[in-house]
Amino acid sequence: MPPSISTRRSEFLAGARATLPLILGAIPFGIIYGAVAVANGLSPAAAQGMSLFVFAGSAQFIAAGLVAEGLPVGLIILTTFVVNLRHALYAASLAPFMKHLPQRWLIPLGFWLTDESYAATIARYNAPDDSPYKHWFYFGSAAVMYTNWQICTLIGILAGQQIPDPQGWGLDFAMVVTFIGIIVPLVKNRPALVSVIVAGMVSVLANGLPNKLGLMAAALLGIAAGVLAEIAWPVADQLAPAEENA
């Protein structure tokens, strides 16, 4: 609900409020990330540092898993890049609204871009009123997401140090089930279905490849299959951003 007379302060608070329901999913995610990271051999400082400086939930999860497998650092960074490519889509969709903003805004807002803040903010930008302070709404949303992620990571790290074997508790399944909850709503047309079927099949067939190359191969072939399938079955809203991914 946009405020009737918007000020910087009212936009900031509205952004924070709009994001509160979305952090319900981020809370267990952050706690489990912290617990799994230290269980996999990351130092507590590195686990928290990743949340502070990288701030990308699923990429952090995967990196923590790759650390346990002893993967070279370069490949962990490359995997992070592939997993985070989806943020380019969010950024491209927000950019036209933020053309007028100076670098001192674009740099922090770029750093704070997440699935959740994107979903909240694009809805605000698309609202019909012409408030000049909609970037303050994004700021409020991002502040809630960032603060919550730091606190949840810390709780997870402390809990992970008490639990000797988080895998035994099924904590590793929490990430899997979270991803299922993100993937399924994205599969809303035939090209998307083709994309996930190809990605899933290749990921199993190529699982034996060294250095997680199977993950790369599956992701790239899945994307290619989706693009090709779209030629066969054109999608009406093909340029609309995926907003349900919260």
Partner: protein, 113 residues
Amino acid sequence: MNGLTTREVIMILGMMVVTFGVRYPVLAIVGKIDLPEGVFRALRYVPPAVLTAITVPALLMPGGERVVVSHTNAYLVAGIVAAFVSWKTKSLVLTILIGMAVFLGWRWLIGVI
């Protein structure tokens, strides 16, 4: 508390650079220049393809070595239930809660825990 290792510092800095490198430049540039439509089209498939490539092996190959299609694979059983819940409700929170409950309950039933 053990401190950071050099390897960890390099990893975090590298991850920070590529993550910011995906988010910020697009935010700063698009709207001022035009990107080809094909790029946007391909980007749409990145989230489902990447997340599926991570999820499917975790469901089908819980030990990481071989495919286990059996009722003894709690990852697969709970994963199928979670996908159904997500499809029906579109709720991430419900999917996580029910999926975790089925996973832990199933492992208890078949005696893994």
